[in-house]
C-alpha cells in the first residue's frame, strides 16, 4: 500500500462517496531543445463532489501546470504521465474529440485573467451562447440566449440583458470574471478548475467573487480545484489544501490542519511570511533564498532543502516521499515528522510505519 493511495481517502464521507476528480501520479515534462523540464512530479489527490481542494504555492511551483495538465490543455507540447479519473472516465485515455466534448461540459475552467480569456471582438452573450450550443445544452439560438440571461443573473450580474449585449472591454474586471464564471458553469460541470480566479481583482471585488464560488458550489454541488498563491484565499475557500513546491506536493491535508498546524517547513515558512499587524515590523519569518523559477534545475534531494532551517544531510541526498503522517495528512518532510530513519527508503513497510 502506498501513501498516495491512502491520501485519496481524505475524509470519512469521501471514503463512501467516490471522488468526482481523481488525480493519480501525474507528472508533466516539457521537452525543450536543450533539455527536459520537469514541471510537475508525481502529483496525486482526489476531490469529492461539493468539496474544494486548493493547490497552494508560489510562482514556478507547478500548481497551474497541474491544473492545465488535468484538462489536457497542453496538447503535444508536454509529456504527461499518470492518470486522471473524472466520474469513472480516464481523461488521459480519451481521444481529442471525446476530450473536447468533456471539456466545458464535465470539467470547466475559470482562468486568471478574464480579459485574455474572453474574445475581445465578440459580445459576451455570443460567447455564452456558443458554449451552450456546442455542448447541446440548448439547440436553438433563442433558447440559448434565454439560458445565457439566466446564467448571467445566477452569477450575480445585476443587469444581465446589458451584459449580454456588451463587449468584454465594456465591463469591469469583476463583471468580466463573473461572465467567465457564467461560461464555466453553463453546462453544470461536475468539476470546476479555477486558476487564480481572483488574483487580478481588487480586494472588495475578490470578496464578492469568492462568495459567489461558495454559493454556486452549494447550489450545484460541483467539486472545485482552485489554484492560488494566497494563503488567505485558501483559508477562505478550501476544504483540503495541497501545498506545492518545485513541482511536487510537499504537504496535504484539511485546510484547518495544514494552515493551522503545518507539518512541512515550507508551509511553515509560507505562513510565517504573511504580513499582519500582529507581527512586529521587521520580524516576518522570511524564508531565505527564493523558490526555483519554472524550468530552473532543481537542487539535489529535497528541492526545499537549501532554504530549509531544518535540513539535515540526508535531505540533500534523497527526495523524501510524501507520506501519511496523521489521519488525512501527508507531508514530504521526514525531519519535522520523526526523522529520516522512519521514512520510506523504498520500503513499503517503513511507509506504513511512518503513517502510524
Amino acid at each position: 500500500m502506498t501513501v498516495t493511495t491512502e491520501m485519496r481517502v481524505t475524509a470519512p464521507e469521501q471514503a463512501v462517496a467516490p471522488a468526482a476528480l481523481e488525480v493519480e501520479g501525474v507528472s508533466v515534462t516539457f521537452p525543450t531543445k536543450s533539455r527536459e523540464i520537469d514541471a510537475v512530479r508525481d502529483v496525486s489527490f482526489g476531490i469529492a463532489a461539493g468539496k474544494t481542494l486548493v493547490l497552494l504555492g508560489e510562482s514556478g511551483s507547478g500548481k497551474s501546470v497541474t491544473s492545465r495538465a488535468i484538462m489536457r490543455l497542453y496538447g503535444r507540447s508536454a509529456r504527461i504521465t499518470g492518470a486522471v479519473q473524472l466520474a469513472g472516465r480516464s481523461l488521459f485515455d480519451l481521444d481529442e474529440r471525446a476530450m473536447r466534448k468533456l471539456r466545458g461540459a464535465e470539467i470547466a475552467m475559470v482562468p486568471q485573467d478574464p480579459t485574455a480569456a474572453l474574445d475581445p471582438l465578440r459580445r459576451v452573450g455570443a460567447q455564452i451562447v456558443e458554449v451552450l450550443r456546442t455542448h447541446d445544452i440548448e439547440k436553438s439560438r433563442s433558447g440559448a440566449k434565454a439560458r445565457a440571461l439566466d446564467l448571467l443573473a445566477s452569477v450575480g450580474i445585476p443587469d444581465p440583458a446589458r451584459v449580454l449585449r456588451s463587449y468584454p472591454h465594456e465591463l469591469s474586471g469583476g463583471m468580466r470574471q463573473r461572465a467567465m464564471i457564467a461560461v464555466a458553469i453553463a453546462c453544470e460541470p461536475s468539476v470546476l478548475v479555477a486558476d487564480e480566479p481572483t488574483t487580478a481583482l481588487d480586494v472588495t471585488v475578490q470578496a464578492q467573487v469568492l462568495e459567489l464560488f461558495a454559493e454556486l458550489q452549494e447550489r450545484m454541488g460541483m467539486a472545485m480545484l482552485m489554484v492560488t498563491h494566497d494563503v488567505g484565499v485558501a483559508r477562505d475557500i478550501a476544504d483540503d489544501v495541497a501545498v506545492m513546491y518545485a513541482g511536487r506536493i510537499v504537504e496535504f491535508g484539511t485546510a484547518n490542519d495544514v494552515l493551522g498546524s503545518p507539518r512541512h517547513p515550507y508551509t511553515m515558512g509560507l505562513l510565517g511570511a504573511v504580513p499582519s499587524h500582529t507581527v512586529a515590523r521587521g520580524a516576518l519569518l522570511a524564508i531565505p533564498g527564493r523558490p526555483p523559477a519554472a524550468g530552473e534545475p532543481l537542487p539535489a534531494g529535497c528541492a526545499f532543502s537549501p532554504r530549509c532551517p531544518h535540513a539535515v544531510s540526508e535531505c540533500r541526498d534523497e527526495v523524501p516521499a510524501l507520506l501519511q503522517v496523521a489521519t488525512d495528512r501527508a507531508s514530504a518532510c521526514p525531519v519535522v515528522n520523526g526523522g529520516w530513519d522512519r521514512w520510506d527508503h523504498g520500503d513499503e513497510g517503513a511507509a506504513r510505519q511512518a503513517a502510524t
Partner: protein, 337 residues
Amino acid sequence: MTKELLVAEHLSKRFPNGVLAVDDVSVTIREGETVGIVGESGCGKSTTAKLLMRLLEPDAGTVFFDGFDFLSLGRTLLRRARGTIQLVPQNPQTSLNPRLRIGASIAFNLRAHGWARKDIGPRVESMLDRVGIDPAYATRYPHQLSGGQLQRVAIARALATDPKLVVCDEAVSALDKSVQAQVLNLLTDLQRDSGVAYLFISHDLAVVEHFSDRVVVMYLGRVVEEASASELWRRPVHPYSEALLSSVPGRVDDRIVLSGDLPSPANPPSGCVFRTRCPIAIASCADVRPSLDRVDDDHVAACPVRVDATDPSADFAVAGVSASSTSTNPGGIDRVQ
C-alpha cells in the same frame, strides 16, 4: 512629535481625459515614519505619489518638503531635491535599464545627484552589501537576477543617495510571498539604520497594515480616512475602510461584501463618492461632500453618518441627518455571515 518632513495640502490632478484622479488630497509625512496609502485600482494612490514627487504637476495644491516650497523649485534645484526623495517602483524588471549592469544603474543615480567619482564605487559596493546582494554581482545585468534580487537592487539604488523619503509604489507586490517577507524586513532594517521615511503605496492591506505607522485610505481620488495603523485596524470608521479591511482574505468570519463595482472615475457620484456602494448611505450623502472630520487624536474620517454615531458631541454633525435617515441602521453595517 517628530518634525514634519513632507506636507502636501489640497492636491488635485485632472487628466486630459477628464478623470479627476486626485481630488483635494492632503498628506503629511514626518521624519523617519512610514505612511501607507491603501485603496483599490483607480483610487489615485499612485497619482498622489507622482504629484508628491513632481513626476506629475498638480493642478492645485501645495507641497512643502523639508521646509521649502517643492512646487516652486526650478529644474536645477528640483533635480537636486530629488536626491532626497527617491522611488522604488513596482516592477524592477522594467525599472532597471536592461542594458546597464546593476552596479552602473546605482552609480548613475549617484552621479546624477552630484556624488564625487571616487566615492561612487565604494558606495555602490556598500549599498549592494547592505541590501544582501553580493557586491560581485555589480557587473551583472538585470536579466541575470531574480525578481527579489532586482527589487533589492532597486532599493539599493534608491537609498544610495541618502534620501530622507523613499516612495515605495507597490514595491513588494510583484514578489512571491516568501521573498516579499525578506524585502519588507530589509526595508525595516534600512529605516532603523538611516532614519529614512517611507511613503508605502499598496493595494495589499495586510502588507500596509504590517508595515505602516499611519495609513491613508483612498477611494476614487479622495482620502476617506486617515489614522494610525493600529487604530485603523482596531476601529475603522469609514464604511469603505471597514469593508476594505474585512475583505482581506482568510481574516474575518463576518465579511462585509460591498455590492456593485467601483464607479467610473470619469463620472463620480455626487456628494460622497462612496455612497453608491455604501451600506449605510442616507439621502443627504448625495448632496454634501463629506469633509474629513476628527474621530480621535490623529484619526479623521469623511463620513458624517458614522462620525456622528461615533462621537455624539462632534459639532460638525449635519442637523437633521439622523432624523431624515432612510436607513434603519445608520450607525452599523449589516454583516453577512
